[in-house]
Amino acid sequence: MGSSLESIFRPFEPADAERSDRSAGDRARHRLKVRESIRDNIADIIAEESIIGKDRDKIIKVPIRGIREYRFVYGDNAAGVGQGTGDSENGQVVGKVKGGQRGEDKAGDQPGTDYYETDVTLEELIDIMFEDLELPDLERKALRQIEAHRIAKRKGYRQVGIRVRLDKRRTVRERVKRKLASRRHRDAAALEQPGDVGETAELAPRFPFHDDDLVYRRMIMDVKKESNAVVICVMDTSGSMDTMKKYLARSFFFLLYQFICTKYRNVEIVFIAHHTEANEVTEGEFFHKGESGGTFISSGYGKALEIIQARYHPSLWNVYAFHCSDGDNFDSDNPAALRAAKDLAEVCNLFGYGEIKPLGSRYYESSMLNIFRRLDADNFQTVLIERKEDIWPSFKAFLAKDRGREQAGE
């Protein structure tokens, strides 16, 4: 005791610190669990405005519900003891009841928080979202494939080549083989003339590489067959489309674009804004520029057909078109719109119409859903979006229509 108390200091070792990521394995498995939980709650996460329209490589923070560790804990009616600043009085409010969020901590002396943020790249999130969705219409016509060349695929070895592709290991092996072979030859010769053995042994040490020993890696061109797709976003920007409606439309287009990107290598996107007449616009204008006036849906479809004809011929491109509107079309335009929609359905792999009617908006407004019901095309699908929670289900329904068609077609 006393002065016999001993102590040791173990100094900091940077090498240890680098090596000591001991929780890596446990973190990875925790992440797997989080991934599962994200998949289960995907609809809520998509409804979060913050993820829409972000860069694919960007890391985003997804607020997720922690994977809970259940044990017996006390509920909300438990009293506790706290500490004030010296002037506490009966009846003073000191905090909020946190429903069901207790019991995270071992000691239980701090209220546990169940929410925390996790970093996910958008890419990863999209992978999770689309894991169980299949884009069915991938019949590949010959012309749809554009060959992309890539050097750098190894295929075997050869005797000639450029210096950088020399395979040293195999070259040395070749030399060893040759050396052994020649020694056997020499031994055979020595047997015939025993007198010369000593002399040959002295000459033996130098055994240089020969051109025949050199082995080069063989590289071939890698040809990848890739396919093209174009996403055509058509949106009604008439006066009746307010910010909320545009946000819902934007979310839907975002999903569609991201999903198509996972299936095709070369994806282009076209934005068409229309009121009574249609224009091709940039992404920024598409979502932010307010227009006013009435609506001729046929104008938007006409413009889409025009662009497809000019730049994205259906024999070369997989065309996905989607139109968002609040359905408030001029009555006189309806027959023309129906006809244009029919034409569009013929050239597109998939053509969709989404009617955006946020809850609370007048329900008896004119609706295009009734008109389009008359359009009898396999690859045409209408969805109704009333609030942001609808986006994911309607997106799934949109693709499911197509899947159904494929199964029927086979």
């Binding site: 610190a17 017996f72 509920g75 438990a78 706290g82 002396d109």
Partner: protein, 475 residues
């Protein structure tokens, strides 16, 4: 370590050890490891153990700590100490020299407490690190075994972890084996020998039910399941043992949080005051010390509650008020009281014995209750209310925050249903958590599970069976 070298730490450590001896602390040999914040987070996620078995929940703990740290919500504690012999402590290399000195002194306080407090007597500190290593090796072996695999091990551990703290709280009391327990029941039921039995009527003897399993209500849920479910594999039984043993190591720390932190803070303050630090260090020290023992309005700072109570205990010994002089044994100095208390109390008894009205009023302790959405102060530490506040505090510290669940009958209704009872003390169980935890017990036990508890003042049976969860009010 930028502005100072290891030599400096060793110099101050030597001086601190002199003071430790002067103050009469009785410590294990001490090892300090200097680490960076990444390693520190790693150690924290695994409760400071240099080696620990893998489970995803530790990955979660790490992410959570890291999120809090990255966002600056919560700093990293200055130090971590492990109850082991020799004791092991981690120091953060980025801390200033003053903080390191403070931390080293604080560590010796914990070290002394671990060595001398009675709750830690059951933890076998000389084997701590080895035991955790052995557990880790065994769990890894099961995870690597092709016939078991990580997936099975981890899901089994999920279930075991949910019950790890459902065990006996006072480990200083000897646990009776089942035969001993039966003997005790018989002895308790037998009427005491009566010297006047000729003139007295013979006392009735009610026979205890000796066939019942467990003979008397059992709190060690994991061990009971291990010993009474014949369908568990050997590796599963071993996992239950491991989880139980690790909980047994941590329970003393949960039980003495306030005392332990208060004790270490009391002595780091005294040691540093006695060291006569150079002025610039002294000023930083005062700032840091006050941060550590500041009140947290709305919460409860165990450091502050602890140090204030300890200081008051010493005062009572040295300068008792006239009332106190009557209740205290004579001729005990403040120092005697301090060192005696650090040996024989745990948080609940510590506060029950030593917390009194004046101290509570100084600390402005209050009792809060949920009322609708809000937590509302229901009682403050005034002459009428302090007893209620104290009672609530004593009930909620340490293992008081964990509901007491006992196994009543392993053959309920004669079909091997396990009957549990919750010792209800006014606090209801959180039902969602109870449901999920019952599902875990069902997994471990393999048959139906019934838990008797109170929900909103009504006796209720929560059951979990093959057909899922059900809750039924008792008739």
């Amino acid at each position: 370590m930028s502005s100072y070298a290891l030599k400096d730490l060793e110099y101050w450590d030597a001086r601190i050890r002199e003071k430790v001896a002067e103050f009469g602390l009785n410590c294990f040999p001490q090892e300090f490891e200097i680490c960076d914040h990444g390693q520190m987070l790693g150690y924290m996620a695994y409760s400071g153990m240099p080696s620990h078995y893998p489970h995803w929940s530790y990955g979660k703990a790490y992410e959570k700590l890291k999120t809090l740290y990255d966002y600056g919500v919560q700093g990293i504690p200055y130090e971590m100490v492990i109850n082991a012999n020799p004791s092991l402590a981690y120091l953060m290399r980025d801390n200033s020299l003053c903080l390191q000195i403070l931390t080293i002194a604080h560590v010796y306080g914990h070290n002394d407490f671990f060595r001398n407090n009675f709750t830690f007597k059951s933890t076998r500190p000389e084997f701590t690190i080895g035991t955790f290593k052995a557990h880790a090796d065994r769990v890894r072996r099961y995870a690597d075994s092709p016939s078991i695999g990580l997936e099975k091990v981890e899901t089994f551990l999920d279930a075991a972890h949910s019950l790890s703290l459902q065990c006996r709280r006072n480990l200083a009391v000897k646990k009776l084996s089942e035969p001993e327990e039966r003997q005790r029941l018989i002895a308790a039921a037998t009427p005491p020998a009566d010297p006047f039995q000729r003139i007295h009527r013979r006392q009735e003897m009610t026979e205890p039910d000796l066939r019942r399993v467990p003979p008397s209500p059992e709190e060690d849920v994991l061990l009971f399941i291990r010993d009474h479910n014949p369908f568990l594999q050997e590796w599963e039984k071993d996992l239950l043992t491991i989880v139980h043993e690790e909980a047994g190591y941590f329970i003393p720390q949960i039980e003495t949080k306030i005392m332990n932190e208060g004790w270490a803070s009391l002595f780091h303050k005294r040691i540093l005051d006695a060291l006569e630090l150079p002025q610039e260090l002294q000023i930083e020290f005062i700032v840091r010390h006050n941060q550590v023992v500041r009140p947290i309005p709305g919460g409860l700072n165990p450091y502050q509650l602890g140090i204030r109570t300890w200081e008051d205990i010493e005062r009572r010994g040295d300068r008792p008020t006239p009332d106190e002089r009557e209740t205290l044994p004579p001729a005990k100095t403040g120092r005697d009281l301090l060192f005696e208390t650090r040996e024989v109390d745990r948080d609940a008894s510590f506060l029950r014995r030593w917390l009194h009205e004046r101290l509570m009023r100084d600390l402005d302790l209050f009792r809060y209750e949920p009322k609708g959405e809000d937590l509302v102060v229901s009682e403050v530490s005034d002459t009428d209310g302090w007893r209620t506040v104290k009672e609530t505090l004593v009930k909620t510290v340490g293992m008081g925050s964990i509901p007491v669940i006992r196994i009543e009958d392993a053959d309920h209704n004669h079909n091997r249903t396990i009957l549990l009872s919750h010792a209800h003390d006014g606090r209801d169980l959180q039902l969602e958590y109870a449901e999920k935890t019952l599902a875990y017990i069902h997994r471990l036990w393999g048959r139906d599970v019934v838990l008797e508890t109170m929900v909103n003042g009504k006796r209720t049976f929560l059951a979990y069976g093959d057909r899922g969860f059900s809750a039924k009010a008792a008739k």
